[in-house]
Symmetry: C2
Subunit: 237 residues, 2 copies
DNA sequence: GCGTGCCAAATTGTATACAAAATCTCTATT
DNA sequence: AATAGAGATTTTGTATACAATTTGGCACGC
């Protein structure tokens, strides 16, 4: 069962994904990376050349990304990268707050001992990166912590929904850069809900994680509105 | 049968949507209606003939439905209507509970006077349909009430997520038929959270709606597991 | 000078032909 | 008889050609 007969090398031919699948991955990365900025039009043929695929798999990929909310499809008028609208982001954060609460509650109930240990390790890593001032590494670890808690909840529906919104929020955060004060505050909040999680206190963990989410939303939205305001002003002047 | 290929006649005052869009609507209806039962394979060409479209728009429609969770796409192996797995449904209900709580809370905060009046009207209609024993009409009104509350929350992200899961749950409910006792209980719960909503008591409304969701989940899952058990037994004998 | 209608260019929507992968079937061998 | 394997068949994945729709520009009329 596990010995491929004509297997030639170990590295190469594990599995070849479809072009559509890799187009989705490629485009998603381009959007989250900021290479395709929010609001930019997405002409099909141009992207086809860039990705080296024909329009058929590309169009199917665009439908997938539209379902994730990363692009908007206007019939007969092409696709645009979904603009980062503070109002929409605020709405997403509201839902995220509810999802994080649920995730923390379920994680306390369903997480394994090993998973809690790994969570502690990630938390230590986060603290070290904060102390060292490694912003990029910090935010990646931060994302991994939250995703890990969601995974501990053992709920596929929650996981899928969460990661979709997380991608949207990531885009917003890349535009909004919050200050050192908020960073310190955020670290303190992590300490708080981690304590609750360690003691398997579902209610407290849920409440603290929700509060953390709410405060993050406030900071991101404040910075976002400020930046958008400046951008609008620059456009006029 | 009703859409000849060369139909050029004025189908409507306004222009029709794209074939892909109507294919999505058609397929979604077929799945929710039970015409395409859970677990059934979905050969592309056969559906093309049935819907009168070519494979291109159909495949794009399948991607959309896959994102909604109504079909599963296995690379190179075709699509199947997502099976109704009690474990998955239970997970969805858990998320739904959190979403309903949020919806009730936000509805109290953001709903307009006119919307609350309409909500009352829907509730009265629900009560009348219960008294008359009109099960089908009742469950449609029931869905409209919940969707209405979600709409009152003024949160597009919530609305989209909610309706996706609602579709999944609808499929499960059509398989599971709960009894008269649960019906009466459900009606009483509606009375309860409606009272809280009328007085704009966000916390109580949220809690009661969550409890209603939880009890509905219990009833549906119980019936579902029972039915699945019977089906499995029938398969053996 | 400005608005209106129509034509041309570009872009998206759809159909179809072809390539690649998986499944099925039948045969040959142990 | 059971099983492995090689072809045949079916089904999905991709490219491309063509049709339909939108958009931009230009001439014409007010």
């Amino acid at each position: 069962m596990d010995t491929p007969k004509t297997a030639k090398a170990a590295t190469g031919p594990i599995r070849r994904a479809t072009l559509q699948h890799s187009a989705v991955a490629e485009l998603r990365a381009m959007i989250l990376e900021g290479e395709l900025p929010p609001g930019s039009r997405v002409p099909e043929v141009q992207l086809c050349e860039q990705l080296g695929v024909s329009r058929t798999p590309l169009r199917e990929a665009l439908r997938v990304l539209a379902a994730e909310g990363l692009v908007e499809l206007r019939p007969h008028r092409g696709a645009v990268v979904t603009p980062v609208d503070p109002t929409d982001i605020a709405a997403i954060f509201q839902v995220m707050e509810a999802l994080e609460t649920l995730a923390a509650t379920l994680a306390c109930r369903n997480g394994t001992e090993a998973e809690f240990i790994e969570l502690d390790r990630l938390h230590d890593q986060l603290m070290a990166q904060h102390k060292a001032g490694e912003r990029a590494a910090y935010s990646m670890t931060n994302r991994r912590i939250h995703a890990w808690i969601v995974a501990m909840a053992r709920n596929p529906a929650l996981e899928t929904t969460y990661s979709g919104f997380a991608a949207q929020i990531l885009r917003a955060r890349s535009l909004a850069n919050y200050d050192a004060d908020r960073w310190q505050e955020s670290v303190d909040e992590h300490d708080g809900f981690m304590a609750a999680l360690r003691s398997r206190d579902a209610a407290t963990a849920g409440a603290l994680l929700a509060e953390h989410s709410r405060r993050t939303a406030d900071a991101v939205l404040r910075s976002l509105r400020q930046r958008m305001g400046k951008a609008a002003a620059a456009e006029v002047g």
